[in-house]
Symmetry: C2
Subunit: 286 residues, 2 copies
């Protein structure tokens, strides 16, 4: 019993976790924030786009009178690097129930010039103020139990790639969408995984911005092994997630002309559809 | 024969049509454009959100080195009125294949102060430069032939509402999604229609921005008759549409907490999925 109690006590909490420390922004002057982008959220050497969105989302939560991102759209301009960055925010409009803001993240190039990495436009509100009505017709996708899904540490089918982010995530892939890792992609534009933070921190609206862009790309299951950089990503946060692991399902219906869309749905432990996202990504056909 | 030839000759063309005249912007100074928002694209008294997006899209097509919107995200701030407006654009980044820009539309209030109506962030490219590969797994939705669908002028089930925009659109609703107009909504979050411009102008990437927001809201088929104002709308234009009428299908999976998402797919006469969009809208439950 004492040991179990100790294990509970060291589980990270919202506000005191790797994710919170690595997305924390420091106010430099009104509307301007500093951050040191962590190397802990990279895939190969690229900083994960969902982590970047969470960083910008946190700056806007501070700059705006409302704290929850209801809808946030990001355009990815140049590749971010781990290290110092500055975020400049602009309050576009404040209203009683919704506020709209804009934010850009900049890093300095080798000659000390600021280069813009990503720009977002977002409308924020208060999720706790929303009425309880739920008339969702969507159903959660069928998922095997978490202990029948596979993570980066599981043999005999380890997820490939030496990425720092895998150490920070609890990502357990549905074996039905793991064919790519075995050299036998299904051909379907589907990827599904149980998702959490490795240190046990529960999900909140900001970590949902990470969750929608944390799975291997659907392109892998369509037999495409190359890089699939995000051009634009929009996330709708629809409900504060309940404690416990999330289920994330991503799908692609339209791979054409060197681009594809990736739609994500995030379901919480109470079977609520807590976030929906869509991104446009480039794809190099092999 | 001469009469038919004459009828052909008066069909509007891309560049010479109601839509082109009413979305035309006039360069005032570098990056700044004037427009007189037409009262011809209103629903009751509100200026249609898709028409506004097309206006901003046209300004960005002029301001950026690329002419086709690949992905454009709009946040709707305050209700636009027919009449004069100014658009201020900002070139965020220019690249070889993609350029990113921002644009805001302002109108003056009664005291002459500029009020921002809508802000967009968009990445533009050249649709004609894309490779021809199509690996779309999506199938066009089943549609009845156009002569079995219903428009605002068709009895015995005319589409209600006296809206100027109905005179400018060829909108023929699938009877399977017309229950709301007969007092018997299906309860499903679906709406489907054949779409064109009333003067016969064919579709282009800019008119696709109108097409995704031109149908009655899915909320009507879910038994909700109130206003469903758009908070945010993102459109991906994936292919230059072929001549001929478009098929537009919109769906809602998640109506909860006073908000809903509306996803649109636009298919052209060659069965190409030419545009995808998603919007977040507020809904007043009746």
């Amino acid at each position: 019993m004492p040991e179990a109690a100790t294990a509970q006590a060291v589980t990270a909490t919202i506000g005191d976790s790797e994710f919170d420390r690595d997305t924390a922004v420091t106010l430099r002057e009104p509307g301007v924030y500093d951050i040191d982008l962590s190397a802990g959220w990279t895939i190969i050497s690229a900083v994960n786009g969902g982590y970047l969105l969470a960083v910008l989302g946190r700056a806007l939560a501070d700059a705006l009178p409302h704290s929850d991102p209801f809808t946030i759209s990001a355009h990815y301009l140049t590749a971010s690097q781990p290290g110092p960055a500055v975020i400049r925010t602009d309050v576009v409009r404040t209203g009683r129930t919704l506020s709209t803001g804009q934010a850009s993240l900049f890093q300095c190039d080798d000659e000390g010039r600021e280069v813009e990495r990503i720009r977002v436009l977002a409308s924020y509100g208060d999720l706790d103020s929303l009425p309880d009505d739920v008339r969702t017709s969507a159903q959660p996708p069928a998922f095997p139990p978490i202990d029948q899904c596979f993570g980066s540490g599981d043999g005999p089918a380890p997820v490939s790639g030496s990425s720092a982010i895998t150490e920070r995530l609890m990502l357990k892939l549905d074996p039905a969408t793991l064919g790519w890792a075995l050299g036998a992609p299904s051909g379907k534009g589907e990827m599904r995984a149980w998702f959490g933070l490795a240190d046990g921190r529960d999900a909140d609206p900001l970590s949902l911005l990470l969750a929608v862009d944390a799975l291997p790309p659907t392109a892998f299951e369509m037999g495409i092994s190359g890089w699939v950089p995000t051009v634009e990503l929009t996330v709708h946060v629809r409900c504060r997630p309940a404690p416990g692991p999330l289920r994330v399902s991503i799908t692609t219906r339209n791979l054409a002309g060197g681009f594809l869309e990736e739609d994500a749905e995030v379901w919480d432990s109470q079977d609520r559809l807590v976030a929906q996202s869509r991104q446009l990504a480039r794809v190099r056909l092999g």
